[in-house]
């Protein structure tokens, strides 16, 4: 029997996937599909159509009789091909073949014994066949895992979907013996292979990950992804001093796409179909999901993350991480570490810290002092300006803050406003005025009758401690200077301190996101009451009059 003959020497066809036919069917399978083993008359029709048909025949043959089982080698050989289309065909064929085998239960169930042992052993032929086939399945899966790193995206996508199909089928027809009644079984091995393939350290897999995101809709896949991801991260960073940025990016991508359901409820949307769900399974409890989620993030964040990934994590922290953690206070370490880094990262960490302080009773020493330290000129130019000022507004909204602190903040902001662009000024000037409104004790900053005339500003901008900055002794001369600002709206906003401030606060929420371009458009659209005024000094040349700076400092040629 041919099948047995070939089955009899499978030791050479290890699961390295280089399963070549011994019986003269040449290894031309690597490049040409036209191998005599597939039948003599098929030499003419090379190409994808022919290949599909040929593979189809093979699959039919294998599925039809166990005697044709050796044809699996041919299919697996095509998987090794270089050609993208051939690989795709082969993947399709494998998917059909092993899908059918899994459904039929023609694969060995239980801990897999080594191939040689079984084949040399004297058990029944069926068992031998099943073990042998299970080994082929194993090698196919391994090959598919490798294909996740294939340069072509179609192949990757196809490999991923095939693997996920196997996961589903294997979940329904587990290849392990259930230890007890209604034991929950999930193909952990296979799934870890998938996640490991997704979290590649070599290249950015964001496209593939976005494909994978649709599987994360299912509760069981999500749960096992969290477990597998934390394992994979642990394994990838284990003992390695330098982890490539691509890995962190992939990991972050995967982790951030895991989102737990907001409201409690039974989790029932399963990828692997079960006839009935048992209450004893961990997968069905949201609590367990939370635990897994927390563990995953903690394991991820305990590493020294690159700054960019750190920023990304902080951006989504308040919205999609903290609410789902079983114990949000565990994030304190990470957040304080980030807050101490300084710059934009600190600004972003503020948001998470705020939630911890506000909702989880975190005691943070010197919080305001650090916040004060965060205020430097770049704060008006960074991307997260709106978020920062939104939070700063929240932090400073308490009326129980000491006056010296608020005064120091107002003075600091006013000082920074001297270097700010108009769109930031339009936001920060009402901000300062709001501070003064909330804290009447600080109104001395804008109204100090009978105060002594001073030689210099008593405020010390270099002092880090707001208590020592002597801001309360100063006045907001900066705003007075900004009344001379070239933009009319800024000038008007700065002039608000000339009169006693009106009682209601100005809401700065609509001002936070204003960009210079919006102001520009607004100014363009505004219609003046009168006709356009014209310059009455006639133009003489491009550089203007002699006393103009342009004429003094530039020449035409």
């Amino acid at each position: 029997m041919r099948a047995t003959a070939r089955l009899s020497c499978p030791a050479r066809r290890d699961d390295g996937g280089s399963g070549r036919d011994v019986s003269g069917a040449p290894g031309g399978g690597a490049t040409g599909l036209v191998c005599p083993a597939w039948g003599g008359g098929m030499e003419g029709d090379a190409g994808p159509g022919g290949a599909r048909r040929a593979l189809g025949h093979l699959v039919e043959a294998v599925l039809a009789s166990r005697g044709e089982a050796n044809a699996v080698f041919d299919i697996l050989a095509v998987l090794q091909s270089e050609d993208q289309e051939e690989i795709q065909e082969a993947v399709h064929a494998c998917s059909r073949l092993f899908g059918a085998l899994l459904a039929r239960g023609e694969l060995f169930v239980g801990p897999l014994p080594s191939e040689e042992m079984v084949l040399t052993g004297s058990r029944g032929a069926t068992r031998k066949y099943k073990v042998w086939m299970r080994h082929r399945y194993q090698s196919c899966c391994n090959r598919l895992g490798e294909l996740l790193a294939h340069p072509s995206f179609q192949v990757k996508e196809l490999a991923l979907s095939t693997l996920m199909k196997f996961v589903q089928l294997e979940g329904e027809h587990p290849l392990e013996q259930p230890k007890w009644e209604s034991n929950y079984l999930f193909p952990h091995q296979l799934f870890r292979l998938v996640v490991g393939g997704l979290l590649s350290p070599e290249e950015d897999r964001s496209l593939l990950l976005s494909q994978f995101r649709e599987f994360l809709e299912h509760d069981d896949i999500r749960y096992h992804t969290m477990q597998a991801a934390s394992d994979t991260v642990a394994r990838a960073t284990d003992g390695r001093p330098e982890v490539p940025l691509a890995f962190w990016n992939n990991a972050f991508m995967l982790l951030s796409s895991v989102s737990l359901p907001r409201q409690e409820g039974t989790l029932s949307s399963f990828y692997v179909k079960h006839t009935e769900l048992s209450d004893k399974w961990k997968v069905v409890h949201l609590k367990e999901h939370r635990k897994a989620f927390q563990q995953m993030w903690l394991r991820f964040l305990k590493h020294q993350l690159p700054l960019r990934v750190c920023k990304k994590v902080l951006v989504i922290m308040h919205d999609s991480i903290l609410p789902h953690l079983a114990q949000p206070s565990l994030m304190i370490d990470f957040l304080t570490r980030a807050y101490d880094i300084g710059g934009a990262v600190s600004l972003l960490a503020l948001n998470g810290l705020f939630i911890l302080i506000h909702k989880h009773n975190l005691e943070y020493p010197d919080f305001y002092r650090k916040l004060y330290g965060l205020l430097d000129p770049s704060v008006f130019h960074v991307k997260y300006r709106a978020r920062f000022f939104h939070l700063a507004d929240l932090f400073l909204s308490s009326s129980h803050l000491p006056a010296y602190l608020v005064a120091a903040f107002a003075k600091r902001l006013a000082r920074l406003a001297l270097t700010a662009p108009p769109e930031a000024l339009l936001m920060v000037l009402p901000f300062i005025c709001n501070l003064l409104r909330r804290h009447p004790a600080c109104r001395v900053l804008m109204h100090r009758p009978r105060g002594p005339e001073l030689d210099a500003d008593p405020y010390d901008p270099t002092e880090e401690d707001p208590a020592q900055s002597r801001a309360l002794e100063s006045s907001l001369w900066e705003l007075q200077a900004l009344q001379q600002h070239y933009h009319p709206e800024v000038s008007k906003a700065a002039s608000a301190i000339n009169q006693a401030l009106s009682v209601p606060e100005v809401s700065i929420a609509p001002l936070l996101e204003v960009t210079a371009f919006e102001i520009f458009e607004r100014d363009l659209k505004k219609k003046g009451p009168e006709s356009v005024p014209l310059e009455f000094i006639p133009a003489r040349g491009l550089l203007g009059r002699r006393e103009d700076l342009c004429a003094q400092l530039f020449t035409l040629s």
Binding site: H447, P452, C550
Partner: protein, 870 residues
């Protein structure tokens, strides 16, 4: 209808009842008086109905009703109406005389128609003045109706004699008058009467003739007056054009003579102004404009008095009548030439046009061609105005005027306005024989480019100028829109020139002048065009900023646009529709564009220059500028401790461009000479040798330092000047301490530092303006004028009036209802009495019948009994 009528009647009947019912009646019957006794005396209440005469008023009402309502009631079924069927009785459009004539004609006609065709000897009756002569023969006392009307009550002797003298003999007066004609047979009575009639007729005719004469004379006088009036008031009465009377066409000579005559009399205002006067006027104009500019700079609202009403004469009736201004032009001189066409008539035209035209004068510096075109532009409104004013004057109004304008202007718009000009122009024309003289306005930018490209600068200027002249808005209707578009095209063309390599800045330099002129002509469209290019540039930048957070410096064209915008519009305004967006645009350039090459440095410095020029008058504060200059200085500073200053966005303290301007070659420093930066470099900086590059760096640095100095001077008075310039100060000290720069620059920076230090540090504590104290709440009662007692108070005047009317209406309504009710009662009473009367009559008749029947019966029975007895 009945209601209305009865209401009216009721009112009519009620009205006299008032006085009758009042106390005014002398001695009323005490039994008829009814007194309404008042229980309490209320102070201030007028009592109107305390005494009444109910019986009397009822009787009056009844009487009135019997006179009116009863009559109507009785005639209710009678439909005959009197109708006046005389001809034209109700036609008011026919005059009475005409009516009479027509009536007479009709009557005649009726008489002419034979009553019966068989009546052969029916004669027509002869009449005189509507009276048959036969009648006159019978009654000789007929008086002429005309004379009757006119000399009423004056009876002439003859008339009296004929009337009252009676008798058949001759009149005694007549006989006495004609002593000579003794043997004349005595006139018969008929003759006499005829004579009399003839005489009176003649008199009448004479009188009519006299009246006509008088009329004619008046008319003539009127006409004479009108002519004189026309000359006096320089205004033709409207009746003249309306009245179809023909006037002899005045010939040209007469007209001219008259015109000249009156012109001589007109104000001798436009003598040539002396240099001094011109200078003074110019100064006044500039002062006024400057004041206006200051107002806008401070952002104040337009003061009320700037819109105060026009001067009103004491004699003004305030009826909206305005004496039309004289449309004719007066002889005037300008620049030594007779101003034939365009000048508006002196002071009569508004001050503004005068100024504009002076403005035009201001910039036209020499070229005789120039001196005309601005006048043409600025006179737009005044021309239109004068045309309007002249409208009624000339018989065929606007068209002829426009025509004359066209014909007169065309040669000027073309080539030959005055001999002197022609001379120079001929020379020029000879030089550029190839340029056509007329150009259509290009419809697209490409067209303009094809016109201008490849020509020399001078030629391009000439072409643009000719386009403007040939298509002056006063020449044709669509020209205005065309020229408005020309501004946009020119702007685009300038952008192209600036973007070309190398940028043709000299051409742009010259093209700025026509651009300015066009802008003066069409401010709205010019501002729209500038806004459009700015928006374009910003939009482009915004696209890259949104994705990357930064953008490259835009091309030279955007910078040129910004510079030009600053020249066309006043940059010092607090808010300006073009300048404010332009400022934002500049600010974006300085904050969003990182400096990556020497070219960027040049561009950035140019932007700084433009920015500072924008605020040179208003001295406004630009934070971005300080940041940028600090960044540039940072680039030139060798060893950075980064103490005392922080750089903001486009600059980084450490990076690949952080030493872009650093020059370390001693030799280059020694050979460098300070000069101004060529603007061309912003467009395309060619590859330079190392020394040249170093020199460029040093030049940039010099410019930067100059700008810093300017800032120090400008912002010296700002309250927190030292905080603002603190980074600059730190950088300059560091720069100086490095000692690696040419002596000139060292000197410059040292002087800047000392200047910074010398600025006063005045830190006066801020004090809010005193706001008006909020008045305490007062609890005194509110006083309301009591106008009328009752409930109609405490509201506005309109409300009170409304209430009064409502009240009145209600009362009237009630009165009317009451009257109607009384009418109905009266009618019912009348009807009842009628029925009763009828019934009584019937009863009486029935009784009578019964009586007669009874007697008959009795008689019959008696007869029967008699018979029976027998």
């Amino acid at each position: 209808m009945g209601k209305a009528r009865s209401a009216a009647r009721g009112r009519a009947s009620a009205a006299p009842a008032g006085p009758w019912g009042g106390r005014a009646r002398p001695n009323p019957n005490p039994f008829e008086v009814k007194v309404n006794r008042q229980k309490f005396q209320v102070l201030g209440r007028k009592t109107r109905h305390d005494v009444g005469l109910p019986g009397v008023s009822r009787a009056r009402a009844l009487q009135k009703r019997t006179q009116t309502l009863l009559k109507e009631y009785k005639e209710r079924d009678k439909s005959s109406v009197f109708r006046d069927k005389r001809f034209g009785e109700y036609n008011s459009s026919i005059s009475p005389e005409e009516k009479m004539m027509k009536r007479f004609a009709l009557e005649q006609q009726r008489q002419h128609e034979k009553k019966s065709i068989y009546n052969l000897n029916e004669d027509e009756e002869l009449t005189h003045y509507g009276q048959s002569l036969a009648d006159i023969e019978k009654h000789n006392d007929i008086v002429d109706s005309d004379s009757d009307a006119e000399d009423q009550g004056v009876l002439s002797a003859e008339l009296t004699a004929t009337h009252f003298g009676g008798g058949g003999g001759p009149l005694p007066g007549k006989a006495a008058q004609q002593p000579g004609g003794g043997e004349e047979p005595p006139k018969s009575r008929r003759e006499l009467i005829e004579e009399l009639i003839a005489r009176s007729k003649q008199e009448k005719r004479e009188r009519q003739a006299q009246r006509e004469d008088a009329l004619e004379l008046t008319e003539k006088l009127d006409q004479d007056w009108k002519e004189i009036q026309a000359l006096l008031a320089r205004k033709t009465p409207k009746s003249e054009s309306g009245g179809g009377k023909e006037k002899p066409e005045p010939d040209a000579y007469d007209m001219m003579v008259r015109e000249l005559g009156f012109e001589m009399k007109a104000q001798p205002s436009n003598r040539m102004k002396t240099e001094e006067e011109l200078a003074r006027e110019e100064q006044a104009r500039l002062r006024r404009l400057e004041a206006e500019r200051l107002r806008r700079m401070l952002g104040r609202e337009e003061e009320a008095h700037s819109k105060r009403p026009k001067h009103l004469s004491a004699d003004d009736l305030n009826d909206g009548f305005v004496l039309d201004t004289d449309g004719r032009r007066l002889l005037s001189y300008k620049d030594g030439k007779m101003n034939v066409e365009e000048e508006p008539s002196g002071d009569a035209s508004g001050g503004e046009t005068g100024e504009e035209e002076e403005e035009g004068e201001g910039w036209s510096e020499g070229g005789p061609e120039d001196s005309d075109s601005p006048d043409g532009h600025s006179d737009l409104e005044s021309d239109a105005g004068s045309e309007d004013a002249r409208g009624p004057d000339s018989p065929d109004g606007l068209e002829s005027d426009a025509e004359s304008e066209v014909t007169s202007e065309r040669p000027q718009g073309g080539q030959r306005p005055s001999p002197r000009e022609r001379l120079t122009r001929d020379v020029r024309a000879a030089a550029r024989a190839e340029l056509p003289y007329t150009f259509a306005v290009p419809e697209s930018c490409e067209e303009l480019k094809s016109l201008l490209l490849g020509k020399s600068t001078e030629d391009q200027l000439l072409v643009v100028e000719r386009i403007q002249k040939c298509n002056h808005p006063s020449l044709a209707v669509g020209n205005k829109a065309k020229l408005e578009k020309l501004f946009g095209f020119l702007l685009e063309y300038i952008g192209d020139l600036a973007a070309s390599d190398p940028p043709e800045l000299c051409v742009i330099d010259k093209l700025v002048v026509p651009l300015y002129n066009l802008c003066q002509m069409f401010p709205e469209s010019a501002s729209d065009a500038v806004k459009f290019v700015l928006r374009d540039a910003m939009h482009e930048m915004e696209g890259t900023v949104e994705t990357t957070g930064r953008a490259a410096f835009p091309g030279l064209d955007v910078l040129i646009y910004l510079k030009i915008a600053g020249m066309l519009f006043p940059t010092s305004d607090f808010w300006h529709p073009v300048i404010t967006p332009a400022l934002l645009c500049l600010s974006q350039l300085l904050t969003k564009c990182p400096v990556q090459s020497l070219q960027d440095v040049v561009k950035g410095l140019f932007v700084c220059c433009v920015f500072l020029d924008y605020v040179s008058l208003s001295q406004r504060f630009i934070p971005e500028l300080i940041n940028f200059l600090a960044g540039i200085l940072h680039m030139a500073t060798p060893n950075k401790q980064s103490q005392g200053y922080t750089l903001v966005h486009p600059f980084r303290a450490h990076g690949k461009n952080s030493e872009l301007l650093l020059v370390s070659d001693e030799e280059d420093m020694a050979t460098w000479q300070r000069r101004s930066l060529p603007l061309q470099w912003a467009g395309s900086l060619k590859a330079q040798s190392k020394t040249e590059a170093n020199h460029t760096r040093l030049s940039c640095l010099a410019v930067c330092l100059a700008l810093v100095r300017r800032c120090v001077v400008a912002y010296g008075l700002l309250p927190s000047f030292h905080d603002i310039t603190q980074p600059l100060r730190a950088l300059l000290t560091e720069y100086l301490s490095a000692r690696c720069c040419p002596a000139a620059l060292q000197e410059l920076s040292r002087s800047i530092l000392t200047e910074m230090e010398s600025q006063p540090r005045h830190c006066r504590p801020l004090v809010c303006e005193k706001s008006k104290p909020v008045p305490l709440k007062l609890f005194t009662p509110r006083l309301v004028k009591v106008l009328e007692f009752g409930r109609k108070q405490g509201s506005t005047k309109e409300e009170q009036e409304r209430r009064r009317l409502i009240h009145k209406h209600k009362r009237e309504f009630k009165g009317a209802v009451r009257e109607i009710r009384k009418d109905n009662q009266f009618l019912a009473r009348m009807r009842l009495s009628e029925i009763m009367e009828r019934d009584a009559e019937r009863k009486r008749k029935v009784k009578q019948l019964f009586n007669s029947l009874a007697t008959q019966e009795g008689e019959w029975k008696a007869l029967k009994r008699k018979k029976f007895k027998k």
